[in-house]
Amino acid sequence: MKTLYSAIYRHIETVGQAGVFLFQAICRLPVRYDEALKLYFRQIYSVGVLSLIIIIVSGAFIGMVLALQGYSILTRYGSESAVGQLLSLTLLRELGPVVTGLLFAGRAGSALTAEIGLMKTTEQLSSYEMMGIDPLRRVVAPRFLAGVTCMPILAVIFSAVGIWAGMLVSVHWLGVYEGSFWSSMQQSVYFDTDVMNGVIKSLVFAVAVVWIAVYQGYICQPTSEGIGRATTRTVVLGSLAILGLDFLLTAAMFGDF
């Protein structure tokens, strides 16, 4: 029992330390704003632009699979024209933010952890400190802000590509009437409840994943094994956080309480 209490205490302590770490990173103002912007856009490229390929390809395949599965079920009830509705609501509300978050944790989150961990191992973080430059401001803040900016945009791109790919399969391959495909979507998708809730979800997932990634990199053991463990923890904890938060957010947004 004592071991359980101490384990719980350690976890709460870690969350507290991670919170202070994040607060310190984002509350320190840049010394030079032009330099801060340069660092931010460099990270936008490395975290966001370089993740585009995996997001677009995954979005396309998931959209196509959804269209095939949806069509095969809906056609039994003569409702194949509702494929557009099924596709759009599934992607915008759930799969867009969640799958983008999982892919982001695997692609960008692990890269962030490994990069910061390697900077620690090669004494680059110590070097910033010894130069009187705060590594939280210089290294962590631009990566965190870029990650939080990119993920909602990537989730929107994922959903758009998925809907387009699903339309190709259902309209041009399976023969669903194009007018009913789009009109069913238009009638059932609401900007406030569906599109915006998806964006809010992806924003919350982004904060969780990038926070875990930069913190794990910063506190990792400065060895190759330590970096490996930290990278694994980022992907595992990030993925679990996304799934857990998704349940809570879905319950809050769409649950009829």
């Binding site: 010394v31 900077m119 090669t122 400190e129 010894m130 009187g132 430059i133």
Partner: protein
């Protein structure tokens, strides 16, 4: 003798192992102080304690009148602007060129315009023989070149205190000679206080004004290079002459060798 770094009754532990046991040493202002001792004695740890990157478990480290272990984060960062540190690995920022590495402290801590920064960076790189390598990335440099580029970065702001962690390791004889001269010249021309951690006995003693010899978590001798050379202390003699047998153990503490080979506890 004006003291720049004052270490008083300092103790520092890693897990249960005592790295320093109540040591006291002083680093004089404007002089080159060589800190020497066997591997694992905690020489790099001493530099980190002086830089305020780690705090002692007891005692104090005072740099230019500021107690580093009790200073606020802002005071620490302000104090570090007057320090330069050459890391053992060089620790160049891998996403920046050599030029950008040296320019970074100037861009962060001064109001100089780009032309002035460019000129200062080129002068610093010229002094370490790497002006022609300004455009190279750290991955394109040899170990010795990376160390020299890191030295140019460490002295970019003309600091009052420069700490060198094994500056001669991995250097070819020409680069080593240049570095020895450079450290001496920097120290005497700009009146910089230098702390030099090195195993290279002859090169270190040739330029050091003051030497501290560490062993087993204590300062075993502190004095001028000549006093160190003339010391009859068997620990000093063993270190200077590189003998395997002597009061300073070469082997990490272990059980009896024969018994372990024979599988006996």
């Amino acid at each position: 003798m004006e003291v720049y770094v004052d270490v008083k009754n300092l103790s520092f532990y890693r897990a249960d192992r005592a790295i320093y046991k109540d040591i006291t040493l002083q680093i004089p202002k404007g002089k080159i102080t060589a800190v020497m001792g066997p591997s694992g004695v905690g020489k790099t740890t001493l530099l980190r304690l002086i830089g305020g990157q780690i705090a002692p478990h007891s005692g104090s480290v005072t740099v230019a009148g500021l107690d580093m272990s009790r200073a606020s984060r802002k005071e620490l960062f302000d104090a570090r602007r007057k320090m330069g540190m050459l890391f053992q690995s060089g620790a160049l920022f891998s996403d920046m060129s050599v030029f950008e590495n040296v320019a970074l402290p100037l861009q962060e801590h001064t109001e100089f315009d780009d032309v002035m920064i460019r000129d200062i960076v080129l002068m610093k790189l010229q002094s370490v023989g790497l002006r022609g390598a300004a455009h190279l990335m750290p991955a394109e440099l040899s170990g010795g070149m990376a160390r020299r580029a890191a030295l140019a970065r460490a002295i970019a702001l003309d600091p009052d205190l420069v700490m060198y962690d094994e500056p001669f390791a991995g250097q070819d004889p020409i680069s080593k000679g240049v570095l020895v001269e450079l450290i001496k010249r920097l120290n005497h021309a700009a009146n910089i206080t230098s702390v030099l951690v090195s195993h290279d006995v002859e090169d270190s003693l040739s330029i050091a004004d003051h030497v501290c010899l560490l062993s087993d978590g204590r300062v075993i001798l502190s004095g001028t290079a000549d006093e160190i050379r003339q010391s009859k202390d068997p620990r000093v003699v063993q270190f200077l002459q590189g003998h395997a047998d002597g009061p300073v153990g070469f082997h990490y503490p272990a059980q009896d060798y024969d018994k372990q080979l024979l599988g006996m506890n």
